[in-house]
Symmetry: C2
Subunit: 188 residues, 2 copies
């Protein structure tokens, strides 16, 4: 096994045994028997390492950074556009569907996904929105994005499978913007 | 096996082999070796029979009817309230989580759920909204509801697990109303 593979292997074991939050780059280095600098050489942070162990061919933390750079204006639309673009290539989608499936059926995988999403994705998104109910806002955004990929790619609900990405951005953008940035719409 | 159990057993086999759409009350009666009138005596339609085979302790078609009786005004809020109420009792939730899990991992279960939701739930909801893009509207509503129960009860995303039902109705109500009844919000 080469060094990089040994690191990924040690990371996979650590995420599974300790969860996302309690895994550290340093701990992974120790378990792989390599210098911590090497882990940092191969992987740009814990999120990148996690994405690698999950066979997710994107670094979600990096994507979120890029989405957030544009500020809160039209954040919802940009988020949907980026998210759906990530899911589009069939070979990547297969890996992502497998990840979602495992989170549905294994408590261990659910915990990893939960901690990872909370720290790297929705936490950042919600704190960018800066509201006091940031956690709920982030979670609502999460629920819509989880739901749309499950309905579109796993359960394959007609209407969603054949909608274009542009159509979905138009419908979902304002909803995500509402969850993350604007206040809840109060019934009259 | 008593007659009722024989009917449920034949129905389960038929839904699995033929899917939801191609299963009929008459066909189930034939396979169970009973008079069709008996099937109708025990089950108020195919949706009720399906719910029984899935160990879902509610009849979704009946609930949707009740939600729709109030007309389109505040339909989104009523739908969320009803839906979350159905998921609340822990013993019922267990059966529903099992159903969602199986749809995530078995193409056969996904197909049944897809056909069932399309015909009995979202089709009715969307055609009540009466728009030409009814199928997409229904599917978007479905995606948010699927996402919220997965995030709340399966992946257990913090923020959603501890939100009260009232809080979720307030946040999700206007979104469902937007998907089903009001037009898509156009970005300025």
């Amino acid at each position: 096994m080469d060094t990089r593979a040994a690191i990924v292997d040690a990371a996979r074991k650590s995420f599974a045994a300790r969860g996302y939050d309690k895994t550290s780059m340093r701990g992974v280095a120790r378990e792989a028997g390599v210098d911590p600098a090497l882990v940092h050489h191969y992987f740009d942070g814990k999120a990148a390492l996690f994405a690698e162990t999950m066979a997710v061919p994107v670094n979600p933390a990096e994507l979120i950074e890029r989405v957030l750079e544009g500020g809160t204006e039209r954040l919802g639309w940009r988020l949907v556009e980026t998210f759906l673009t990530v899911w589009e290539p069939p070979e990547r989608r297969e890996a992502l569907v497998a990840l979602v499936r495992s989170a549905m059926t294994s408590e261990e995988a659910a915990r990893m996904l939960r901690e990872f999403l909370g720290r790297e994705v929705f936490g950042r998104l919600a704190s960018a929105a800066g509201a006091e109910d940031a956690q709920l806002r982030g979670a609502l955004a999460a629920s819509q994005m989880i739901g749309v990929v499950i309905a579109r790619y796993v359960v394959r609900v007609p209407g969603l499978t054949d909608a274009s990405r542009g159509e979905l951005v138009e419908r979902l953008g304002p909803v995500l913007q509402g969850y993350l940035v604007d206040g809840p719409v109060r019934p009259e």
